[in-house]
C-alpha cells in the first residue's frame, strides 16, 4: 500500500456482502442464496492456535458441510456451501484480515487519486494459477468484466466504469463516483475471485476449477469434494496435504460425525447445544459474534403500516432479547440496529426496549384496533419460524393478531418480490461495509427495499455517506442514517447471531471468523 493515499481505512468491517444467505443450520441444510464467503475477521477468541505456530505438517482434514455446492464457478454461484470450499481455492485482489480490514492479497499495493476516482492496483509478481500459468493484469481485467456483466455480484462494481491492464502487473480502475468502500467491494469473499482469462474465453469456468489459492480442487462428486495442497502457492502455507469436504445435511448427524471422529471439522452446530458442547474437551467450539443480523420488516405500502406510529408501536411491543433467546439460545446478541458491536461502524442505539404500554398507547393514538398481520417466514431459515411464534405472542399482548405464513424459500422470495405480505422476518448475512447494510435495504431506490420504505432524509444521508471519503465523517453520516432508519422502523432489528463451528482438538491454526469465511491455509492436524 503505498503512496498517495490509500487510506488505511479502518473499515473494520468492510467487505460486504450482503447476503441473505446463509448457512445457517437447520437440520436440513441450509442455504443458499447469496453467500458470503469471505473473510473478515473476527475477533474471536480463537479457540485454537494461531496459524503460524509450529505443529504437524501434512495430513488430510475431513470437513463436513451441510449441503452440496450448486456449482463451482465462484463468480456465479450464490451458495454458501460453494464458498466454504472455494474460499480455499481462489483469491481476490484484496481480502479481509483478522479485523475485517482489507489487506493485500493478489494486489500487493494500490494507490488512488485524491478524488478517489482513479484506483491503480499493483499485482503481486510470480503468482501462478493451479495450471501453472502466471497471473497477469489481463486475468484481473477479464475477471472483473465477467463479474460485472455475468457475475452474481456485478452490483459491487457499479461504481467502476472501466478496468484497464496498464501493464502486466498493473490494473487501473476508473470510477464514475468516489467509492470509499471500493476495497470492501473487491475483496469481501470469493464471489469476487480472480480467475484465468482463458477460462472465461474458453467457457470452462466452473467445469475446470483453476484458482491461485492454497489448495487446488482435484475431484468433486455428489458427496465428496477433494482439495490438495498447491505447492506453488504465493503465500505462507498451506500445511495440510489436503482437505476432504463431505456433505452431511442433517445437523445432528453432522455433530455425531464429529464426535465419532469420522470428520474433523463441521460448519455449524445446533444452537441449543452450543453451551453444552463448550464444556467438553473432546471437541472445540469456535464461536464469534457475527456480522449477520435478523430483522422484521412491515409492508410500508399497505395500511396501516404506512403510518410510522403503527410501525413504531410494533417495535415497542417486541422484545429482541426474547426473540434472540428463542431462536439462538445463548448464541446471539440482541441489537436494535443492524451493525454489531465490535465493528468500527457500530452505533449504540436502542430506543425501543420492550414496552407494551407505549405500544398500546401509540396504537390507540393511531386509532388502530383489532389489527391482524400476515407474517411471512420460511422453513429454509428455521429461526424465522421460531421467531414468528415469539413475535405472535408478544404482539398478541397488545391486541394484534398475527397469522404466521410459513413457505419454502423459493415461494417466499417470489412473494417478497411481489410485495405479497404484511410483514416478514429474515436475515442478511456477511455484510461488512455500512453501505451494504443500509443502501439497498432502505434507500427509496434500493434494490432490496421490499418493504417499500421511502424517506428523503434517509436517502440523502445514504447518498452522502456513499461518497464521503473521510472515515470519521462517513461514520457520522451512517450513525445518523441508522438512527433515522430505526426510528422510522423501516426494519425492526432483533439480533446478531454468533457464527459457530466445531472441530476436533487435533485441529490447530483455524479460527471462526465473523464473516464465516472458512480459511484452512494456516490449519494443521495431528494424525
Amino acid at each position: 500500500m503505498s503512496g498517495m493515499l490509500v487510506r488505511t481505512r479502518v473499515l473494520a468491517l468492510s467487505a460486504a456482502f450482503a447476503l441473505l444467505l446463509t448457512a445457517c443450520g437447520d437440520g436440513g441444510g441450509g442455504v443458499d442464496l447469496d453467500d458470503p464467503g469471505a473473510e473478515p475477521d473476527t475477533g474471536d477468541p480463537g479457540v485454537e492456535g494461531e496459524g503460524e505456530a509450529a505443529g504437524p505438517e501434512g495430513g488430510t482434514l475431513v470437513a463436513a458441510i451441510g449441503g452440496e455446492p450448486d456449482q463451482l464457478n465462484p463468480l456465479t454461484t450464490t451458495s454458501s456451501f460453494a464458498f466454504t470450499v472455494l474460499e480455499n481455492v481462489y483469491d481476490t485482489l484484496v481480502q479481509p484480515g483478522e479485523d475485517l480490514q482489507m489487506e493485500p492479497a493478489l494486489a500487493e499495493s494500490w494507490e488512488t487519486s485524491d478524488d478517489l476516482l482513479t484506483w491503480v492496483f499493483t499485482l503481486r509478481e510470480g503468482v501462478t494459477f493451479h495450471d501453472g500459468s502466471e497471473l497477469t493484469a489481463d486475468d484481473v481485467v477479464a475477471s472483473m468484466e465477467y463479474i460485472r456483466d455475468e457475475g452474481a455480484n456485478g452490483w459491487r462494481l457499479e461504481a467502476v466504469d472501466a478496468f484497464e491492464a496498464t501493464d502486466d502487473y498493473t490494473v487501473t480502475m476508473n470510477l464514475n463516483r468516489p467509492a470509499p468502500n471500493l476495497l470492501e467491494q473487491l475483496g469481501p469473499f470469493k464471489g469476487m475471485a480472480i480467475v484465468p482469462s482463458e477460462a472465461i474465453e474458453g467457457g470452462t469456468l466452473g467445469d475446470e476449477v483453476v484458482g491461485t489459492g492454497p489448495f487446488q480442487l482435484t475431484s468433486a462428486s455428489a458427496d465428496v469434494i477433494q482439495l490438495e495442497a498447491y505447492g506453488d502457492y504465493w503465500g505462507e502455507g498451506p500445511y495440510l496435504d489436503g482437505i476432504e469436504f463431505r456433505i452431511i445435511p442433517d445437523e445432528g448427524v453432522k455433530l455425531t460425525n464429529l464426535e465419532t471422529g469420522e470428520v474433523d471439522w463441521i460448519d455449524s452446530v445446533p444452537p441449543e447445544q452450543v453451551v453444552d458442547l463448550e464444556g467438553r474437551d473432546d471437541l472445540v467450539i469456535g464461536r464469534t459474534p457475527g456480522n449477520d443480523y435478523w430483522y422484521m420488516a412491515l409492508n410500508n405500502e399497505r395500511e396501516p403500516f404506512d403510518e410510522v406510529e403503527v410501525r413504531r408501536a410494533i417495535a415497542f411491543a417486541l422484545d429482541p432479547a426474547a426473540i434472540a433467546e428463542a431462536t439462538n439460545f445463548d448464541a446471539a446478541t440482541p441489537n436494535e440496529t443492524a451493525i454489531p458491536e465490535g465493528s468500527f461502524w457500530y452505533h449504540e442505539y436502542a430506543p425501543f426496549g420492550h414496552d407494551p404500554e407505549q405500544a398500546q398507547q401509540l396504537l390507540d393514538e393511531a386509532g388502530v384496533d383489532g389489527l391482524s398481520i400476515d407474517l411471512m417466514v420460511t422453513n429454509e431459515f428455521p429461526e424465522t419460524v421460531t421467531g414468528a411464534q415469539v413475535i405472535a405472542s408478544q404482539l398478541g399482548e397488545v391486541g394484534i393478531d398475527v397469522r404466521i405464513r410459513t413457505e419454502d424459500f423459493t415461494t417466499w422470495l417470489a412473494d417478497q418480490g411481489e410485495g405479497d405480505f404484511d410483514a416478514f422476518m429474515l436475515g442478511w448475512l456477511g455484510n461488512i461495509d455500512p453501505d451494504d447494510f443500509y443502501y439497498a435495504q432502505h434507500h427509496s431506490e434500493g434494490v432490496n427495499n421490499f418493504q417499500g420504505f421511502a424517506d428523503p432524509e434517509v436517502d440523502q444521508l445514504l447518498d452522502d455517506a456513499r461518497v464521503e471519503v473521510d472515515d470519521d465523517a462517513r461514520k457520522e453520516l451512517y450513525d445518523q442514517a441508522a438512527e433515522r432508519i430505526v426510528d422510522q422502523a423501516s426494519y425492526i432489528y432483533f439480533y446478531n447471531p454468533d457464527i459457530v463451528e466445531a472441530w476436533s482438538p487435533a485441529v490447530s491454526g483455524y479460527e471462526t471468523r465473523a464473516d464465516s469465511a472458512t480459511r484452512f491455509v494456516d490449519t494443521r492436524i495431528e494424525n
Binding site: A18, L19, L20, L21, G28, G29, D32, L33, D34, D35, G67, E68, D70, Q71, N73, T78, E150, A152, N153, G154, W155, G206, S221, A222, D223, R246, I247, I248, P249, D250, G252, V253, T256, N257, E259, T260, E262, E380, D408, F409, T410, T411, L413, A414, D415, G417, A440, V447, N448
Partner: protein, 317 residues
C-alpha cells in the same frame, strides 16, 4: 407371450408419457420463481432477463413441454438451472447410490417380512403372530427419520460399530461400502419389511384357507409338503406384486433416509431441486423414478406369467 409383452411395454410407455405431462404441469404450477431462487437476493434486471431467456422460461408452456419431451426422447433431459450441468450427468452420478440403498433396503425388508409373515400366518393367533403384528404396527407407524437417528445414536455414537452416515461406492471398496450401507438400509428396510410382513401374512392366510389346501391336509399329506407345494406357490404371486410395488415406493420415499444418512442419491437431488424450483433436474429425477417403477412393474408382470401360467394364457387370448 410376445403379444403380451408388446402390450405391457406399450402400456408402460403410455403411462410414462402421462407422467411426463403431469410432472411438467405440476412443476410449473407450483409458485416460486426458479430464476430468482438461482440468483439470490441481489441481481440486476438485465441478469435476470438474460437467465430467463437462456433457460427458455419466457416461452409458452406448451412450447417448453414439447421442447423438453422432444429432447428427453433422445436422452437429453436438459441442463440444471442452478449447476449448469446436464441433468443426465447429475442423475447418472447418483443412480448407483440410490440403487444400492434401495436394493439393500429391499433385501432387509424381505429378510424380515418373509419369515415373520409366514410364521405369523401359520401360527395365527399364537404368540408369534402377535409379535409379528406388533413389529409390523410399530414399523409402519414410526417415521423412518426417527429410526435413522436412533440407529445412528446407538450404533455409531454409543457403540461405535458403524459409521454415522456417508457413502462409499461398491466398486471401490465393497467392504467399506457395505459398512456404510447397513444403517441406512436397515432404516429404509424396517418400514418396507413392516409393510410386506402384513401382505405376506394375509396372502399366506388366504392360501392356507383355500379348499385345495384343506383337501390336501385331509388326504393326509405331510404338513411341510402342503406348505411348500400348495400354500407357498399360491401365496407367492401377491407377494411378488407387492414387493415390486414396494420397491417403487421405496425409491420415491427414500429421500428422508438419504438426508439423514448423508447419502448422495436421487432423492436428495430431487429434494434440492424442489426447493430451488430447478425444473429440469426435478423433471428428470421424477421421470427416472417413474420409468424405473414402470420397468419393475413390467418385470413383475412377466414374472407373474412365469409363476402362474393362467395369467399368460388369459392375456394372449
Amino acid at each position: 407371450m410376445g403379444r403380451y409383452l408388446a402390450l405391457r411395454v406399450g402400456q408402460a410407455a403410455l403411462a410414462l408419457f402421462g407422467v411426463s405431462i403431469v410432472v411438467f404441469a405440476l412443476m410449473h404450477l407450483v409458485p416460486g420463481d426458479p430464476v430468482r431462487a438461482a440468483l439470490g437476493t441481489r441481481f440486476t434486471p438485465e441478469l435476470y432477463e438474460a437467465l430467463v431467456e437462456r433457460s427458455g422460461l419466457d416461452q409458452p408452456l406448451v412450447v417448453q413441454y414439447v421442447d423438453w419431451i422432444g429432447r428427453a426422447l433422445v436422452g437429453d433431459l436438459g441442463v440444471s438451472f442452478r449447476t449448469g450441468q446436464p441433468v443426465t450427468t447429475m442423475l447418472a452420478q447418483r443412480i448407483p447410490a440410490t440403487a444400492l440403498l434401495a436394493v439393500g433396503a429391499m433385501l432387509i425388508g424381505l429378510l424380515v417380512a418373509l419369515p415373520a409373515g409366514i410364521v405369523s400366518a401359520v401360527r395365527q393367533g399364537k404368540a408369534a403372530d402377535y409379535a409379528a403384528n406388533t413389529f409390523s404396527q410399530i414399523g409402519v407407524s414410526i417415521p423412518d427419520f426417527w429410526y435413522g437417528i436412533l440407529l445412528i445414536l446407538i450404533f455409531a455414537r454409543v457403540l461405535g460399530w458403524l459409521p454415522p452416515g456417508g457413502y462409499r461406492p461398491l466398486t471401490e471398496d465393497p467392504g467399506a461400502a457395505l459398512r456404510y450401507l447397513v444403517l441406512p438400509a436397515v432404516t429404509a428396510g424396517v418400514v418396507t419389511g413392516a409393510i410386506l410382513t402384513r401382505f405376506v401374512r394375509s396372502s399366506m392366510l388366504e392360501a392356507l384357507n383355500a379348499e385345495h389346501v384343506r383337501l390336501a391336509r385331509a388326504k393326509g399329506l405331510p404338513w411341510r409338503y402342503v406348505l411348500r407345494h400348495h400354500v407357498l406357490r399360491n401365496a407367492w404371486i401377491p407377494i411378488v406384486t407387492v414387493t415390486g410395488l414396494q420397491l417403487g415406493t421405496l425409491l420415491g420415499g427414500i429421500v428422508i433416509v438419504e438426508i439423514v444418512f448423508s447419502w448422495p442419491g436421487i432423492g436428495r437431488l430431487a429434494l434440492d431441486a424442489v426447493e430451488t424450483r430447478d425444473y429440469p433436474v426435478l423433471q428428470g429425477a421424477v421421470l427416472l423414478i417413474a420409468a424405473v417403477f414402470l420397468v419393475i412393474n413390467l418385470l413383475v408382470d412377466l414374472l407373474y406369467a412365469r409363476l402362474d401360467p393362467r395369467i399368460r394364457v388369459g392375456a394372449s387370448t
